[in-house]
Symmetry: D5
Subunit: 192 residues, 10 copies
């Protein structure tokens, strides 16, 4: 069964985050951190590899827009937070990140989101948009050779926020902020 519209399971782990270009800090992250605002979880296979820095950089380049939408971004790999700190210090791309780099060495998160690869101990490329009640609204998972486009994640986040804020309306195909939505009704049945 799909994870869509289910609650994020309880978890506890440690992240490295450098919000201001200083030396950063280690913070504890649990499912409680996902309550009260929108969250975007972005899983990727491993620190110090190839596509991953480009995806983090893409997220960093769009971080202002996520923030404007009131959403936090979390990068997750099965590495430790120690590796994440060093990665942040040594990679120019990763160094742009101002959001948490979450370590999942216990594989709690990768298993809970169904993106664990048992024979490698690493995550698939999975992106999840989660609402302020901790309920998963969209899921997107790729074979690791195929990277994502953060613009599309922004679009999904905004569509999810729009329908959350406008009960009785739905976002049609390729909807973008400001575009027309639909209000389902008996009259429309069979008419579109």
């Amino acid at each position: 069964m799909s994870l869509i519209n289910t609650q994020v399971q309880p978890f506890k782990t440690t992240a490295f985050v450098n919000r201001d270009g200083g030396k950063g800090e280690f913070i504890e992250i649990t499912e409680k951190n996902l309550h009260g605002k929108w969250s975007v979880l972005i899983f990727m296979p491993a620190a110090f590899t190839f596509n991953c820095p480009t995806e983090i950089e893409d997220a960093a380049d769009n971080y202002a827009e996520f923030q404007k939408a009131g959403a936090e971004v979390y990068i997750v790999t099965t590495d430790t937070h120690f590796s994440h700190k060093v990665w942040h210090e040594t990679s120019p791309a990763v160094g742009k990140a101002r959001f948490p780099l979450v370590g999942d060495p216990t594989h709690q998160l990768t298993n809970a989101f169904g993106v664990h690869i048992p024979e490698e101990g690493l995550a698939l490329r999975g992106t999840f948009v989660i609402n302020p009640e901790g309920v998963i609204k969209t899921a997107e998972i790729h074979d690791n050779a195929i990277a994502r486009d953060v613009k599309e994640t922004v679009r999904k986040l905004k569509a999810a926020q729009f329908v959350a804020n406008n009960p009785g309306q739905v976002c049609p195909a390729k909807w973008n902020e400001g575009a027309k939505t639909l209000a389902p009704s008996l009259d429309l049945v069979g008419k579109i």
Copy 2:
């Protein structure tokens, strides 16, 4: 566990397809139809509803590009092929479709792809890119109020095809046809 990199399970059902604007036909569809070329399966909740026609229209508008990439598109709902024929005849949006509208009244496909909603008997909005060996390469699932953007599906399909055709290369973030790719090597470890 994720469906990514697993084989599509055997199934058998009936679809309505109108390839030429004539009166169309009913055809049997099984997992064997997915072998030998790329496939895109697009699940949606129900015929005669609201977002679904807009998504089918979006797919129809991009169908030429799918065809150029050698991929077939399949729309799937838990309705019968009888309903699909009538939908195609009565909806201006759906009537544009030249690809199969697959009926899944037995819920075989929605269960096999993990998009079934038991308490409604309907599918979630799920899109799957499948390679010519019948292996799932990308998955995307939304809450039903949030529609998809077919452009992003086209991008994923092309990235999946590129890495299939170019072993040893990976597609970085927001890659689009023609953009630069990466060739992982020891030297690049920790350097991006």
Copy 3:
């Protein structure tokens, strides 16, 4: 074991009903709707097919008699209520119906009444007369190629009502309203 003299199991689904030739409405139907008056449940395979409209038309033509007998008629298929609305609008035969067309996409009802065909996801042609306590009094199930005769259902309903209202009497073979009944007694044993 037979369903005869057992209680209808709890269920919940949505029907389309057009009582007055207006645009109709969607209503929720549960086992509670069957309490307090006689009900006739008529299962059939699928909207937009062949025999089904003729059977609905036959029911519509006899609906006045059902109403006079204080009974409601329910048509049930495994389609959605969305399909039922469109069917009602587009089929001249189905459009005559002033009773609920019940959707059963979750297969709850077809399974509970033992008329589900698992390999098709559709219902057999089954008719059930149910008393105001929600107890099934007669059952009739056909292979789908063989349609029913609503006159016979009217006869069964009236016989069921007669014996309910006249304890100590039974309706003999081919009884019709107004015909003679039998009062079982020791004297009659072995004498008929």
Copy 4:
């Protein structure tokens, strides 16, 4: 699950039959007797009771028509064949029967056809039309206070025979011998 389109289970029992108004005979009956011609099984509660003789008489009055249609009639109760012989000798109504009166004291048949009432050791009023391959095509079961109309059984038998003999056609509502049938086709979908 319904018995429709399932094979009759193996059984073995003894019947009394008086084909010519002579003294009759006891014959063994098994599922093999049902192969090669159409059969109508008519279950009823008990010898020497009230409605049952009227139903047997009704069957006897229509026996010529069953024979013309190449079908055999079997009356079944949980009594012994000894009781059936005496019943036939002493009841004017039952005495008209020229078809087998089948004893089922082991309850094999009543259980196999789902018409057994465990707390009484008797059968419900059940009628089954069975094709020459031993496959059940129609079923009809009543609370015991409500008798059947053999005319309707004749109609079902003939409809079942018609569609067996005319593949590709179906019998619409209230079809009777000679009436119009339907040939399902793509063109008719959504048009009736």
Copy 5:
């Protein structure tokens, strides 16, 4: 294990009894009817057969003696009470019976007394003497081709009553009413 000295299990069924040569009546019989007086249960295979009437006649010829001993006689077959009424009316031998003819179509009694023949649905010839507390004191079961002698049942009943009324005494071999009994004691051990 033997049924001797065990309690009769609860049961409920219907009997036909004609105590006075009138038209008789149907009465409900349960294990409670066996409390408060001595009972003799006589199982036999089927109404309208061969040995059974001779055994009922034998019981009827000795009924005065049973009554003098304060015992009731019950004939039990797996037929219905309807068959029993007709049997009583049509058989000169059975017509002599002034004690209940008990129907056991549910097979409760034949199973509880271990005399059921599953492959026939009939009882073996079994006779049981039961005391006023509902406890079985003697059992006798024959292959159905071998009938019983009621005189021996009378002898057993009287011996059972004698030892019940005379604690500390036992009835020796071939004891008959009035014959000498034995009072077991230490002195007699090894001395007879």
Copy 6:
């Protein structure tokens, strides 16, 4: 289920037998001894007690008749064959026995014939007539305070032998050697 018409289970034990008034001998007895001639097994509670010697004496007095009928008699208790030898030597009544006194200290036989009393380790008074194929034809079991009458056992043995030798005939109530028997036929059904 009854033991009637079942095969005697395998067993092995030791008996004391004194065929000629000499000092007797110990012999092994198994189920094989019961094949090839008719057998009568007579269980009783314990050596050196009260009714038991009278029953053995009764059997001894009738032994000539059993022998004439080609049948062997076996007395069985849960005592050892050692006790049986002493009993035979010290009891005037038991000393008349010229047939085996079978020891059953392992409780094999009392359990196999369903006459074991677990809380006493002793047998109930049970008599079984067994045919030359080792099949049990009649059973008779009493509370231990009530002794049997060997004359009735002789009657049963002869009836069992008669029907074995005259297939198609049955022995009616209180049949004794030379009396009339019945040949069941269709004509007799319901006529006796």
Copy 7:
């Protein structure tokens, strides 16, 4: 695991005892009889056999010494108390016994003391010394061809009583009443 230092299990049976050369009596024996004084249980195979009388005689010859030590002797076989009475009357050796001869036809005791031979239904030669709390202190079991020496049982009983009465002392090898005992202490470790 050994029975040594375990509690005797509950049991109930009947014994024959002749304390004074009179005619004796039957008494009930349970595990409660073993409480409050020392007991010696002597199992043997069967009444009326060969070694058993010599062992009972040996016990009788030493009974005064058991009584002086405040201990009761119990002979146990799987025979009944009836056999025991006759054995006591007819055997000169057994007739000397003034202690209970316990019957165990239910095999409760032989099983509880682990001396049962299932394929014979008899006991092994087992002797058990039991203290006034019902706890087994010594056990001795022989193949049945090898009899015991009661003198050794007397020695064990007295040693068991000595250590019970003199906590902190133990009886060394071949200890007899009056001989030296040992008081274990740290000093003695490794010094004897």
Copy 8:
């Protein structure tokens, strides 16, 4: 169930033996060592304790007689063979032993002979006489405070050897070498 007349289970361990007053040796002991001659196994709780040396000394004092009877003696404790060597060197009593002192630190032997005390890890005082086929013929087990008398073990060994060598004879109570034995026969039953 008793170990009497069962086969010794397979085992493997190490013993210390000093046959000639030299420095002794370590030898492997298995169940194979017990085949071909009579064996006496003497379990005791622990090296360096109190009663144990007195029992070993008692065995040593009688060793010539065991040897004359062709039997080997084995002392067993749960100590190691290392402890046994030291014990033999340091204890004047134990130093007399010319037979194996068997170590059982794995508890194989104490468990197999049912003399293990789980809460102490030590053996009870158990003596077993075993025949040359490895079958246990006598068993004797004491609470550890009560030592044995080796003379009685010698008596049992000789009785066991006598009946093994003289089939058809048994050793009566308190039999000693040279005393009269009994030959069981029909004539003796009930006569001793």
Copy 9:
């Protein structure tokens, strides 16, 4: 899973200890003795063997240092405390020990610490440092042919005590009392 950072399981056994060169004493030891101070458990295979005395002597030579560190030393083998006393008296090396020699004949401790060799009934060479809360902090286990060096155990004990007393610091490689330690901090991550 490792025992590190788990609680010592409950146990109860007896040790020999000679604290002052007197005659020593037997004391009970349970897991409670390990609470309130640091403990070092040293398992070894068997008393009276080869490497074991050299290891006990090594521990004795370092005992002053253990005492200064407030730690108690426990030697454990599967021998009894009786053997331990004799060992202490007869071995010059073992005689130096002033700490408990713990007997484990029940194998409780060797099993609880995972050092039991089932096929020998002996312990592996295992050393465990346990803190005053009864939690195991270091473990070291060798094949029995390879002895340990107590100096390294002293080093581990002191390192364990240092980090217990100085939260926030860790002991780096080959740390010895007085050497530099490390205080983990964000700054040090990736810098050593």
Copy 10:
């Protein structure tokens, strides 16, 4: 049970190794790599942390001695080989290592050697000496705050090699290369 003297379980993973100060390489490591020469596996918690580099440096400083002894050293953490490469490049201490740094992101090795901490996803500090047959000879596991001393590992390796090469000898306490060993013999038992 201890891992001592058990075979290393099959595994497969990737290591980073830089044997010559060049840029290094990624190599696959399985249990087969451990066959044919001695191995030392050194588990530690995580790359980029505090004690771990000091322990790797300690191993590097002693690597010449390991090589002289024909042994390979393997460092194992649950990090990826990607992290290990970066760690080697960025840490002066780790950069000294010329032996494999093994990644265990699947937790295969940490689980197989019993050093996994489930709630952290990291390894305990565990060191294992493994012989050329893949059998574990010594184990040493610490709480993570307590680092090891590689000198002691060298001592254990050499002792293990010595006893492997000199069957019949054992290494006594604190043995170092060249020191005296012991040859166990009967004479030495109880003499050291």
